[in-house]
Every structure is written in structure tokens, then in C-alpha cells.
């Protein structure tokens, strides 16, 4: 018997989910009896996601893995799917309190805390810092921002006004905002993007770094960036950032297939599966790049 499993990202225009998709596809191929369908709203918009879930319920797919765009909205959709006999798990972004069977992903609060701790480790003496976020509506990003703040609370780091800025997942805008933040506060000591956006525009990002090369080399500006996509690791290797903290989207995709299959087979699965975080600095970057 073959199973049709669907992974529904929050937004298809985010390269993060492409990695999760690749993981899912690879695992589905290995398993043989599983088909992985990847489909979600193009932009991050909850109502569209809910409609897509509805369509899959109609199609009677065998399992859903959802990156939740809005908790309350998805809680209802998950209930509908469960009522139709379709098992649902969440990945990347959770809907705690819903009827989802399991969550695979990162603890976003921990993610933020890790980013903050990395910064603190690199520069315990503190200074002014700013955060770049993706969109004001995203709960997981908000949790990361809170994590960063919590980690830095009580230290000598203070957040500047106007932080976080929201780049709407647009790489170009993220770089522009980093430049603007630095211009607005010339003694800004650190910028912490809670997603990899600025580095998705490698040349723009390099141009920004090169302009501030002196300060970075002198330790006056520290860049701790979330996510560990290949291009980000390369940038870190070449000295364009001080540290990265990454999730493991590829693993999320793989685990989603495994978990759904296990559920289908009637096995018991753990409710929360953390895929873990990669803390990357100059020292271990080569190892991650392989």
C-alpha cells in the first residue's frame, strides 16, 4: 500500500521550506511506498493555507504535515482533518493545543536564546543591538525575537529603538534595513537577523559587510545570523559573519515522512520531536560544509 503525505509550508516563497521539501522528497523515495506532496500558499497568509488544507481533506490524503501560519486558524483546520480521519503533524511552526499528533522542529524560543547566547559569548562586554525579523505576523519569529531579548536581558546589551525591523522575507529589503540600522546608530554593536534573509542576497550582504569591515575586524560590530543554508556557511567561512545558528529543515522533512508513516502503521510517536540546532562559528564551519 502506498501513502500520500502532504507537507504544507507557511509560504512557498521562502527557501527554508525548499530544504524541508528536499528532505521530504528524499525520504519518500527511500521509503518507496510514500508519495510526498509539497503545496502551500505562495505568500505567508493564513486563510489561504486553511483553504489548501480543506482541499487536501477533500482529496482524502493519508497524512498532513503543516507549518502553521496561524495557530488559531490551523487549530480549526487540524480538527477538521482529524475528524475526516487524516492524521496531522506540525513541523517548523507548531499549534500547541490542537489535535495534531506530533510536532517536529525547533523550539523557537530556544532558537532565539541560542542566538542571544552566541552574541553574548562573542562579545560579553555588550553594546547596542538591533534585530531584523521577517514579518510582524509570524509567531515563530516573534518567539525567536523574545528569545534573543531574554538571553540578553541583564547583560550589557541594549536594544535600539525601531528594532526589530520587518523585511517581509525579502532579502533585498533585509540588507537595506541592516544598512539603515547601522546608519541610524553608527555605534551599533550587533545585528541579529532571526532568519537568514540578508544572507540570501550574498553580494548585497557582502557589500554591507565590506563597508563596515573595519568595525567588524575591530570587534565593534558583531553579526549573528539565524539559519545555516549552504551559502550562509560559505559566507561565514569567508569571514562575513561571526556566528550562525541553524535549524535542520532537511531533517524536518525527513522526520515528517517517518512520523506520518509510523502513525499510519499504528505506532506510537513522541509528541514533540526537536530536530535540534546547529551552532556554527569559524571553528566548526568547515565540518558543516563537508
Amino acid at each position: 500500500q502506498t501513502y500520500k503525505f502532504v507537507i504544507v509550508p507557511k509560504a512557498m516563497n521562502n527557501p527554508f521550506f525548499d530544504v524541508a521539501r528536499d528532505g521530504c522528497l528524499k525520504r519518500a523515495k527511500e521509503l518507496g511506498n510514500v508519495e510526498c506532496i509539497y503545496k502551500g500558499p505562495v505568500e505567508h497568509e493564513p486563510a489561504t493555507q486553511a483553504q489548501i488544507i480543506q482541499d487536501f481533506i477533500t482529496q482524502k490524503v493519508d497524512g498532513l504535515a503543516i507549518s502553521v501560519a496561524d495557530v488559531a486558524a490551523m487549530t480549526k483546520s487540524i480538527e477538521a482533518a482529524t475528524a475526516a480521519g487524516i492524521p496531522v503533524i506540525t513541523f517548523d511552526a507548531d499549534a500547541p493545543g490542537s489535535k495534531r499528533i506530533a510536532y517536529i522542529g525547533t523550539n523557537n524560543k530556544d532558537f532565539g536564546l541560542a542566538l542571544g547566547k552566541q552574541l553574548l559569548q562573542l562579545k560579553p562586554e555588550g553594546g547596542k543591538y538591533a534585530v531584523v525579523s521577517g514579518g510582524p505576523g509570524a509567531k515563530n519569529l516573534a518567539e525567536r525575537v523574545d528569545g534573543v531579548r531574554e538571553a540578553l536581558k541583564g547583560s550589557k546589551w541594549v536594544e535600539v529603538a525601531g528594532s526589530p525591523t520587518f523585511c517581509n522575507d525579502d532579502p533585498a529589503l533585509a540588507v537595506q534595513q541592516m544598512a539603515d540600522l547601522r546608519t541610524a546608530t553608527p555605534d551599533l554593536g550587533a545585528i541579529v537577523p532571526v532568519g537568514g534573509w540578508p544572507m540570501f542576497a550574498p553580494e548585497g550582504y557582502k557589500a554591507f559587510v565590506n563597508k563596515n569591515k573595519k568595525d567588524i575586524d575591530a570587534g565593534k560590530l558583531t553579526l549573528v545570523v539565524a539559519d545555516t543554508l549552504k551559502m550562509q556557511l560559505e559566507l561565514l567561512r569567508d569571514g562575513y559573519s561571526n556566528a550562525l545558528t541553524g535549524q535542520r529543515p532537511f531533517e524536518m522533512g525527513e522526520k515528517a515522512m517517518d512520523t506520518l508513516l509510523a502513525i499510519k502503521k499504528g505506532q506510537k510517536v513522541p509528541e514533540v520531536i526537536y530536530t535540534g540546532l546547529d551552532l556554527v562559528t569559524k571553528d566548526n564551519v568547515a565540518q558543516l560544509l563537508k
Binding site: 505567508h44 483553504q51 480543506q54 482541499d55 488559531a72
Partner: protein
């Protein structure tokens, strides 16, 4: 001023207009409807699930989720204007409604004591008058929409700003305010009346989804207003020739303000209904829906240059977009090709209208 009247002239060179040269059969709406039928048949062959009752209910519900807003914007489009703030407006109204609903249901919040009290167990919140909170909160959402509509209308009709720029600014303003009031988090309907709210928005009557019923009622009202009241006539006149409308004494400023208010109210109502179905009013709800809504109206035959449009067209446009969306998911088209196909089908659907120039 009665003058002796001759019998009216007979027009010897005018034949009878045959049925297929008249009304809907001679309009873009009619031809897009034709394209829609073709699409439905194609979808039936592409997926066995398409014509199941459950899926039809879904389709009916989903398209009603933008159709009410499309009805509203059709008024604006007929006058030759545009409103880009509908998406933001949907979100903001929904948010205000949920916030007021939860706020009034939380004992301790200012004013809440007028509406709720704690039950004997000290925990359950009970409404003083069942349904009152619902009423007040929906009104709050609609009043918000009304205010935004008035501001749009004022800038466009009285100050004479371009509708595109004004409503683009308003798109930004209203979305931003949504983030500000909810601190970026969105809001949830809650309290003792939430169940009524869900029943009204995502319930159904004899299997017909509630939003669909509202849509049908509103569309019927709109058809009557457009074609059988002087307001409707003035809306068309404005779109046909604004200068002439002004010269013949139509209260252009008032009519313009009214259409933007109607549009904002429709968007607000739409947002409230969607949030009831979602069970939440997230801050990024309905992002960039304005393009869908405008597209639905235009595909259904409304003309952005003004003077043409109607409720049937608005609905046909919405159904078409929803059938494309739903059908492609059901047909399991690769996600990446889907977007391309959506575009192709939209263009093909309006292309069908070109047969018209062949046969007339």
C-alpha cells in the same frame, strides 16, 4: 408645460433584438460564465473528487470568502475608481471585532461588567444578554470599516486625490494599525458569544454554507440597488462620464463617498466572516487579497475604466478563481506549475469573451 403630443415615431429600420444579442448573452460576464462551465467540465475529468458534495460545499464557502468584498469593490470599479485597501480592511475589521468580543467578555476589562458576569463557579463567564456582545463587536468592526471608507471617500471625492494613491496609502495605514493594536499578534474571537459567532460565520443551513447565503442575499440587494434605484443609476453615470454626471446635477461627491464606504463595509464584513471561519484574526490575514478581489471583479466583466459591472460578474469572477485554485490542488498539479496554470487559465477565460466580437 404640456404640449400637444404627436404619436411617437415608429422606427422602421430597427429590427427585433434577438435574445442572444441582449443582456448577459452579449456581455463579458456571459462569456466568462461559458468559460467557467468549460473549466468545471475539465475539472470533473481531472479529479473524481471535484464534484463531490463536500468539495462543492468547500468551493461555495471559499469563493464566498472573497465574493462579498468583490461585490463591494464592484461599486467602486463601476464609478471608475479602485480600492486597494480591501485586503487590509478585511484584516483590520476582523481584528477589531475579535478584540472587542474578547475584551467585553473578560471580566475586569473596562466596560465588560455591562456585558458579562462570572457564574457561580467563579470561573465561567456568562453573558448578561446572550448575543449582545456579538452584536456590539460586529458593529465595532463595521464602524471601523465605515470610518476607513469615509476617509478614503473624503480624500478621493472632496480632496480630489487619485483613488490608486489614496487607497494604496490606506492599505499601508490600515495594515499598520492592525499590527499596532494587536501588537503584531492578531486576535481571537472569544467569550460566551463566540459560539454564536462561529455558528453565524462557518455554520450552514440545510447544507448550504452560511457565507454563501449572505452572499446571495447581498448580491440580490446589489442587483436591485444598481439597476432600480437612482443611487445605482448615478453610480453608472459617474463611471460613464464624471463630468457629465456633475453637470447634470448628480451629487458626485456624495455618491463617491458612498461607494467607498460600501466597499469598505463589504470588505469589513467579509473579514469578519473569514475570521469566524478561521477562528482567528491574524495580523497578516488577507495579505494581498486586494489583487484577487479586483481580478475577480474584472474577470467577471467589470471595467476599470468605469461604467460597467454587476453582482453576477463579481460572483462569476470569484467562482472562476476559486475553481482554478481548488481544481489545481485536486488535480495534483505540481505546485510550481500551478501558479503558471492559474495565470494561463485566467487569460484563457477572458479570451473566450473575444468570440463575442466574432458573432456580433
Amino acid at each position: 408645460m404640456a404640449v400637444p403630443l404627436e404619436s411617437p415615431i415608429s422606427f422602421t429600420n430597427v429590427g427585433r433584438i434577438r435574445w442572444w444579442q441582449r443582456g448577459i448573452f452579449a456581455s463579458q460576464t456571459g462569456y466568462v460564465l461559458l468559460a467557467l462551465l468549460g473549466l468545471l467540465i475539465a475539472m470533473h475529468f481531472a479529479s473524481p473528487y471535484f464534484f463531490t458534495q463536500g468539495n462543492m460545499q468547500n468551493v461555495a464557502k471559499n469563493f464566498s470568502f472573497i465574493a462579498i468584498a468583490t461585490l463591494g469593490i464592484t461599486f467602486v470599479i463601476i464609478t471608475g475608481g479602485i480600492d486597494l485597501s480591501v485586503g487590509s480592511m478585511m484584516c483590520f475589521s476582523a481584528m477589531i471585532t475579535s478584540m472587542v468580543m474578547s475584551g467585553l467578555s473578560t471580566p475586569g476589562m473596562p466596560g465588560a461588567s455591562l456585558f458579562v458576569h462570572l457564574a457561580a463557579d467563579g470561573k465561567t463567564v456568562v453573558a448578561n444578554v446572550p448575543g449582545l456582545i456579538l452584536l456590539v463587536s460586529i458593529l465595532a468592526g463595521l464602524v471601523t470599516a465605515l470610518i476607513v471608507g469615509l476617509v478614503n471617500g473624503f480624500c478621493i471625492a472632496v480632496l480630489g486625490l487619485s483613488p490608486f494613491v489614496t487607497t494604496l496609502g490606506m492599505l499601508s495605514i490600515v495594515r499598520g494599525l492592525g499590527y499596532v493594536v494587536s501588537n503584531g499578534r492578531g486576535s481571537f474571537p472569544g467569550g460566551p458569544d463566540a459560539d454564536y459567532f462561529y455558528a453565524l460565520t462557518s455554520g450552514d443551513l440545510f447544507g448550504v454554507p452560511a457565507p454563501f447565503i449572505y452572499l446571495v442575499i447581498l448580491a440580490a440587494v446589489m442587483a436591485v440597488v444598481l439597476h432600480h434605484t437612482s443611487f445605482g443609476r448615478h453610480v453608472f453615470a459617474l463611471g460613464g462620464n464624471e463630468k457629465a454626471a456633475e453637470l447634470t446635477g448628480i451629487p458626485v461627491v456624495r455618491v463617491k463617498i458612498e461607494v467607498y464606504v460600501i466597499c469598505a463595509l463589504a470588505a469589513g464584513l467579509q473579514g469578519i466572516i473569514v475570521s469566524g471561519w478561521l477562528g482567528s484574526a491574524p495580523a497578516n490575514m488577507a495579505t494581498s487579497y486586494e489583487l484577487n478581489v479586483i481580478a475577480a471583479a474584472v474577470i467577471g466583466g467589470a471595467n476599470l475604466a468605469g461604467g460597467v459591472g454587476g453582482p453576477l460578474g463579481a460572483i462569476v469572477g470569484c467562482v472562476l478563481l476559486e475553481v482554478i485554485r481548488n481544481g489545481l490542488v485536486l488535480a495534483q498539479v505540481s505546485s510550481y506549475w500551478q501558479q503558471t496554470l492559474v495565470g494561463v487559465i485566467i487569460i484563457l477565460a477572458v479570451l473566450v469573451d473575444r468570440i463575442r466580437s466574432r458573432i456580433t
